[in-house]
Symmetry: C2
Subunit: 146 residues, 2 copies
């Protein structure tokens, strides 16, 4: 399961990607997405440090997307907040750790199975950019009206 932090981050980003605004106040995003303000503050800061968002301090400041919506995907966000995507540490690249459970990693079928799951999952998460999510929402809303 994703942490709340991660889910909040995704929803905040989708909101920012779909709303035509130059700058977003923490307060506005917090209200629009129903995220505790102080908590969101920390989240947006993390996203800024990761280069996803930019910010401007002082009066008239706020946050803004630093990259185009098609350049930001779910895999990146999930990794940023919740770490590795794989189910086992020995089936990751960026967060690799040898597992104590398998005697020989090379011939461990459990690792092999979860490696397959991981690869497919990463592909799917990468295939979902903010742009995709915004478009999808528009489609789902149109379908509902019918």
């Amino acid at each position: 399961m994703l942490s709340k932090k991660c889910k909040y981050a995704v929803h905040a980003l989708v909101y920012m990607a779909k709303t035509p605004k130059e700058k977003f106040l923490i307060k506005d995003v917090s209200e629009a997405c129903a995220i505790p303000k102080k908590f969101l503050e920390a989240i947006l800061l993390d996203l800024k440090r990761a280069g996803v968002l930019g910010s401007k301090q002082g009066k008239g400041g706020g946050y803004f997307l630093r990259r185009e919506p098609y350049e930001v995907n779910l895999a990146e966000i999930v990794r940023l907040f919740d770490g590795a995507i794989a189910h086992v540490p020995c089936a990751t690249y960026k967060f690799y750790e040898r597992c104590t459970e398998c005697v020989d990693e090379e011939t461990c079928s459990v690792r092999d199975a979860f490696l397959q799951v991981r690869n497919a999952t990463v592909e799917m998460l990468k295939a979902n950019t903010l742009e995709d999510l915004v478009k999808k929402e528009t489609k789902l809303k149109a379908r509902k009206k019918k």
Copy 2:
């Protein structure tokens, strides 16, 4: 990430599926798989309650697989120990919970994306039975020797 309990369970089951023995002592599985004995005890008990293993008490007793290796798959084991497979509670069936983050679940693109991931993951985990894992290990070992 899977809990240790879940990983231990999978390794213990694979061990039992590949080893031609009628009954397994906790102690033996514990040593063969490098799992703390007392911890494994609780794990095997859970698997027994779930109908995966059977057991016999007293002298000469032990645990044994109650179903054929091809009838036990990873999805079931993961669900048993770690709960839902999906990344978000609103994208599960067995552990469903409405999420506070999305205003309208029907048109929530985040849910839609993770539902897609979940479905694919479940399929893959289901496709990996104990039998498959044992066979895979044999193959990997053969390939390594070459």
